[in-house]
Symmetry: C2
Subunit: 287 residues, 2 copies
């Protein structure tokens, strides 16, 4: 495995692979790998000749009072995990190379970025869309693999790629959970033991919502009430949002017709956690 931090060198490598007819997969990450990242890498490993994992804690997607500075980092550990999965290039550009002096170009995906995490984190998806487009242009992958935990992010990126005609396939992969159900997240390391226990309420609420829907509940009120009730009853928690949305447009729905996405963001102590699931009238969901 090669570690590359120079964007020009990364682009050069990508061009050579392209010229040689090789298929390239990109897994964009902010590092501090967990089993969720590894599942994306394994998918990319199977799907392409060259697997690039980018590791970049992108300043443009953090608000001024967010956790950019304390976001967990451990390049040595990440390298050895990536090597073990068979990554070809770990791409670790510096912020100064990604946003040099005079930088001033930003991409916005308007409607999809407005609600949910976009409402709580102004500018977040502008930063995400911009950095993902840059990475796609630098690495020129045939496919790019993202996790469904950041479901709104995945929809924003799908839309960006469609709207701007970027020649890449976007692959979304299921959430990977701890054994007790907590969605894997690099931010889970922020949690104290009490908070870690409390954090389970996100998955418990998701399971409750699934069961409600399986038993015939269809209205937004019944689902949201159950979810909010379970979370509010848990100590150390504070709901940012709980929403039932159309899986593609992310617009709020009043009823579950066919399918809807339940998405939630909850503060557990000083850590903001997100989770989501597909709720379907007609079939059991297991994400």
């Amino acid at each position: 495995m090669e570690i590359v931090n120079n964007p020009a060198q990364m682009r050069q490598m990508a061009q050579e692979w392209r010229a040689a007819g090789q298929k390239i997969a990109l897994v964009p990450t902010m590092g501090y790998f967990h089993a969720g990242h590894l599942s994306l890498m394994r998918y990319g490993r199977e799907a392409a000749h060259q697997l690039v994992v980018s590791l970049f804690v992108n300043p443009a997607q953090f608000g001024p009072h967010e956790d950019l500075d304390r976001y967990p980092r451990d390049l040595e550990r990440d390298s050895s995990m990536a090597r073990e999965v068979g990554v070809d290039v770990l791409y670790t550009p510096l912020a100064e190379a990604m946003y040099p002096q005079g930088y001033q170009t930003y991409v916005t995906v308007e409607g999809l970025s407005r609600g949910l995490c976009g409402a709580s984190r102004p500018g977040h998806f502008r930063g995400v869309a911009t950095v993902v487009l840059k990475l796609l242009n630098q690495v020129q992958p045939h496919l790019a693999v993202f996790g469904e935990k950041d479901y709104q992010q995945l929809q924003v990126i799908r839309r960006l790629v469609k709207d701007l005609d970027v020649p890449v396939e976007i692959v979304g992969r299921p959430i990977v959970r701890e054994e007790d159900g907590l969605a894997m997240s690099s931010r889970n390391t922020y949690l104290s033991p009490e908070e870690r226990a409390a954090a389970l309420c996100l998955f418990r609420a998701i399971k409750a919502a699934r069961e409600l829907v399986l038993s015939g509940a269809k209205s937004r009120e019944s689902v949201l009430e159950a979810v909010k009730g379970m979370i509010s009853a848990t100590p150390h928690t504070n709901i940012d949002y709980v929403a039932l949305v159309d899986p593609e447009t992310l617009e709020e729905v009043a009823m579950i017709q066919d399918e809807a996405r339940l998405a939630l963001a909850v503060w557990v102590g000083k850590t903001r956690l997100i989770d989501n699931t597909l709720l379907s009238e007609s079939r059991l969901c297991c994400v």
Copy 2:
């Protein structure tokens, strides 16, 4: 010459050319070709195996009270002119294909878009940046050729390509003028005979500025005063802006140190015309 209007077909052709190792040039236009367009096409013809000229009157770069509806169009004439220059593909996508229902992604180049034409035409460069990025992704050219008449546009596109790491070379080509000096523009067709005569004041003012600088004038005031005076003295005219700016950042400069760009936008009757030139302390400019 092939006429292609389907973006998917255009992309397919580009991919096949790329796979065959062929070099692709793109000349993006809004059609109604004049000698300026043809000079860009001839440059592209020499520089690449495959020459694509896009013809798209982009709604996203027109304001609500601008001339989108009456912008001149003549596909038959344009086709035969393009064919004569040796264009391989005339790419004429429909607005519904470029901005289908649900479209919501836009690119902004912040600082460079603010002044000059950006101040008079809010949203204009957002529309330009967005459509150019789409065209680059659809046609996947190795180089794209633009005229210097739209000097701010050229700088916005250079910045966009640099900031977003788009793998393309941007080529800027000199302004082409009528015999009497009027910069070629599809909008010149709007002018009545009296207005056509009045429109010459833009080039006369540019020549006067060049001579002033050659004779040693360096201050912003001396140059702008002369330019504004000449235009104001011409009937049917109304100055939108006259500016002396840094050629790269487009920020206003107080003195000509080494080089500056003189840029002007003038209403002649109901037609808004633009022109610009390089002013250099040390050498004669002939653009």
